[in-house]
């Protein structure tokens, strides 16, 4: 059984007591809560009294356990490694065991611990369990979040067909989509976010390694700069177009907003999904060079906001409410605004990416868009349909990758594992 073969994070002899570990984990939880406020009060060792530091500076751990998975409402970390997997095994029991093994590994990595028996496994003839590149690095607020793709529910051998949520629909083709199958879809996804890219990559690499023979990476994407923040009082980050992005995002502390727009409730159903969500990922390539040639007025009119301040056109400050009617009808802000979309909102958690340059010397850059929502049929799909048809920004964008996943509820403790409620409510076909 996985729980037996997976070492508890208990100390070996000569290591600190379990009590101190709990203290540490507990502090991590407390920090996690404080971090939601954007800054952290930290007692400095020199006794200068508390000071506030940027959350990323603390390198702290984000609690892995909870009713919801971490990595959704969690304050957005600086870096991303996102991977989509194809499930190769046809054996439900093997898949379940993998999910258990992954859960235990993610539990350890998010706490800043090594996978399995670590990097120094003592048996010189065997490769170490942990690949080692995160040794000596703090937890860096690593979160590891799993999602299940529509194709997983279509695999008859897993017996999940009847458990497929109605809302887990394939995304329609939107005008202008130029999707690459090799960068789209997937039976499973893992989103690893951390303030240190090496920590995020370490997480994906080690999970992929555990998965060899059972799953295989279909595609993966690195993101280097957050483009949305879930902490409104912090600076709104800028995307590769040089504009602030996510000004009106749902805040991680906005319990009502999260309940209305992000988390699936028991009433929403299906029952196994209570506390979960849906994730849409889109690899959006930006035509950076032509965008950079657009005049400032053109850029601002298209976006519907000023470039430096990020204020809605005709207003003064970033957080001023936009007057939609005075914006160009094809401006991005006007089209994407909840008021233009029956109140639809998503929690955006995207990252900028730059995968070098293409063969023509153009920056292969853009936005790896990630959005969490209660129901894609009410949120991403209608909003994107509207944007794809009318948004003036589309001239500078091309959607080249796409995937949708259902995000199961959180792992509540050491006996729990990713997808337990789904698998326990279904039987092998």
């Amino acid at each position: 059984m996985a729980d037996e073969s997976t070492p508890e994070p208990t100390p070996a002899s000569g290591s600190p007591s379990r009590r101190s570990l709990i203290g540490w984990g507990g502090a991590g939880l407390a920090l996690g809560a404080a971090v939601a406020g954007g800054g952290v009060a930290v007692a400095t060792r020199g006794g200068d009294g508390p000071r506030t530091v940027n959350a990323a500076e603390t390198g702290a751990a984000v609690a892995f356990h909870g009713a919801h998975q971490a990595g959704v409402a969690t304050p957005v970390q600086d870096r991303l490694h996102f991977a989509a997997f194809d499930v190769k095994t046809t054996d439900r029991a093997v898949l379940v065991q993998l999910l258990k093994d992954w859960t235990r590994a993610a539990e350890r990595m998010t706490a800043g611990l090594e996978v399995g028996e670590g990097t120094d496994g003592k048996i010189a003839e065997a490769p170490p369990d942990d690949t080692g590149e995160a040794l000596g690095l703090p937890p860096s607020r690593l979160t590891v979040t799993i999602g299940f793709g529509p194709s997983l529910f279509e695999r008859a051998e897993f017996g999940l067909t009847d458990a497929r949520p109605e809302a887990l629909v394939e995304l329609p083709k939107f005008p202008g989509d130029n999707l690459d199958a090799a960068r789209s879809g997937g039976d499973l996804c893992i989103q690893a976010c951390a303030d240190d890219p090496q920590v995020a990559v370490h997480a994906i690499r080690n999970l992929a390694r555990i998965g060899f023979g059972k799953v295989s990476i279909r595609w993966s994407q690195l993101g280097f700069g957050k483009t949305s923040s879930t902490t409104p009082e912090a600076h709104t980050p800028r995307n590769m177009m040089g504009f602030k992005d996510g000004t009106r995002n749902i805040a991680g502390t906005d319990t009502a907003g999260l309940a209305d727009h992000v988390w699936v409730s028991a009433e929403d159903g299906p029952a196994w999904l209570a506390g979960g969500s849906y994730l849409v990922a889109r690899r959006i390539r930006m035509h950076i060079e032509t965008w950079d040639r657009a005049s400032l007025r053109e850029q601002e009119d298209i976006m519907g906001r000023t470039k430096v301040e990020g204020a809605p056109i005709g207003r003064q400050k970033e957080h001023d409410e936009p007057h939609l009617k005075s914006l160009r009808p094809d401006s991005h802000v006007r089209l994407a605004h909840p008021d233009s979309n029956n109140g639809a909102r998503m929690l955006r958690r995207g990252y900028s990416f730059t995968d070098g340059t293409d063969g023509l010397g153009r920056l292969d850059a853009g936005l790896f868009f990630i959005a969490y929502q209660k129901d894609v049929r009410d949120a991403f799909i209608p909003v994107q349909r509207r944007l794809a048809r009318h948004d003036a920004l589309m001239e500078y964008l091309q959607h080249v990758g796409s995937a949708v996943f259902v995000v199961p509820p959180g792992v509540t403790g050491r006996d729990d594992w990713w997808g337990r409620s789904l698998f326990e409510s279904t039987k092998e076909a």
Binding site: P9, V42, G59, L113, G118, D120, I123, P127, P139, S216
Partner: protein
């Protein structure tokens, strides 16, 4: 045994940890010692000293706990009297600790701490007492190594006539005939390549690819002829000489290969290396970039790995039945997958294998190679 590493930093609260800029993952070297005799030997390195807690101890498994109290990054070597390295640990940062585990036999050794990782280092002489542990090797493993030695010899013996036929076709200027004989002449070599590579000097003569050449190195061997046959589509006078040279070099291999050092561990690692060869050279189509006969090599590599594994399977199954069950399964599925593309020396050209199929092959290789990397440990486990 459970060897969970909990960090020293975990004792500090997260807040203090943050403020102090401490790290939460550190190499905790305060693990329990598992040496046969004395406890761990402490080596305290600084910029000017290299202190060793015990300078005389009994042979066996020994753990050295190194602590760098200096201001420079250091490294620690344990050296034989002739300066050959028994073991070493590099990049031990100031204020950090590292544990070195090694089997140490009776004799005199020098410990060298090298602050700044330069020069001869600060030396200490240590004496290891006692009798060399009589190696009680599992007779099954001794048999396995002997059988594998026979296999390796057999493959070389079988290869020579095939290589001679190939060489003759080249020398006769028979382009099409040589093309047909090329891939079959390589099968025995590909099945046992890690053993041949252990000699160091033969592989670069017979199996080097153009991109593997060093400046000034003359390109000889199979792949040079491959390029002539498929890419240049002509056989030069030099190629005819190279064909003779190939046979000469392979005869050298045939003569020496029976004397290679073969142990159960080297067999297990060899099996893993054969899969590495597949993963880095064959799946990508780099190995046979002109002839596109990669799948013939691929099959041969997997067959060679399977032979090693087959000889070790019983012992490994005793120590780690889950591992061998997985390996049995993954070998089978890889062979099944390969069967779709051909058999023996007749495989489809790798050019005709699309990206999706290559990914499928790559996935199957990873599925086998990952557990295979644990075979050596399962064989040596006590």
């Amino acid at each position: 045994m459970r060897r969970t590493r909990i960090t020293v930093a975990a004792t500090i609260t997260a807040a203090a940890l943050a403020a102090a800029g401490c790290t939460a993952k550190s190499d905790d070297s305060s693990k329990t010692d598992d040496s046969d005799g004395l406890g761990p030997i402490a080596i305290t390195a600084s910029d000017t000293a290299c202190e060793v807690s015990d300078k005389e101890f009994a042979a066996g498994h020994m753990q050295f706990n190194v602590e760098n109290k200096g201001s420079k990054v250091t490294e620690v070597y344990i050296l034989f009297p002739d300066e050959k390295i028994l073991t070493e640990r590099e990049n031990i940062g100031p204020g950090t600790k590292a544990a070195i585990h090694t089997e140490i036999e009776p004799g005199t050794y020098e410990i060298a701490c090298k602050p700044g990782m330069k020069g001869d280092g600060i030396r200490q002489t240590i004496k290891v007492t006692g009798k060399a542990k009589a190696k009680t090797e599992d007779p099954v493993l001794v048999d396995a190594a002997a059988l594998y030695r026979d296999y390796v010899q057999q493959q070389a013996d079988m290869t020579l006539p095939l290589a001679e036929k190939f060489a003759k076709a080249v020398k006769d200027g028979d382009l099409e005939g040589a093309k047909k004989l090329y891939a079959p002449s390589r099968i025995g070599w590909e099945r046992t390549e890690p053993v041949a590579e252990s000699f160091g000097d033969i592989d670069p003569k017979v199996d080097v690819r153009e991109d593997g050449l060093e400046d000034g190195q003359k390109w000889t061997g199979w792949h040079k002829l491959e390029k002539s046959l498929w890419h240049d589509k002509k056989i030069t006078a030099e190629d005819k000489q190279l064909a003779d040279q190939l046979v000469t070099d392979l005869k050298d291999w045939q003569k020496r290969v029976g004397g290679a050092k073969i142990t159960a561990t080297s067999m297990a690692n060899g099996a893993k290396e054969l899969l590495d060869e597949v993963a880095t050279g064959k799946v990508t189509g780099e190995e046979e970039r002109y002839s596109h006969t990669d799948l013939v090599d691929f099959q041969a590599n997997v067959e060679g790995a399977f032979t090693s594994y087959g000889l070790l399977q019983k012992v490994a199954a005793k120590n780690d039945p889950a591992l061998t069950a997985e390996l049995d399964k993954q070998f089978k599925s890889l062979f099944t997958l390969l069967k779709k593309y051909g058999a023996g020396e007749k495989f489809v050209s790798y050019e005709k294998v699309g990206d999706t199929q290559r990914k499928e092959l790559s996935d199957a290789v990873n599925a086998l190679a990952e557990p295979l990397s644990n075979l050596a440990a399962a064989v040596v486990a006590k």
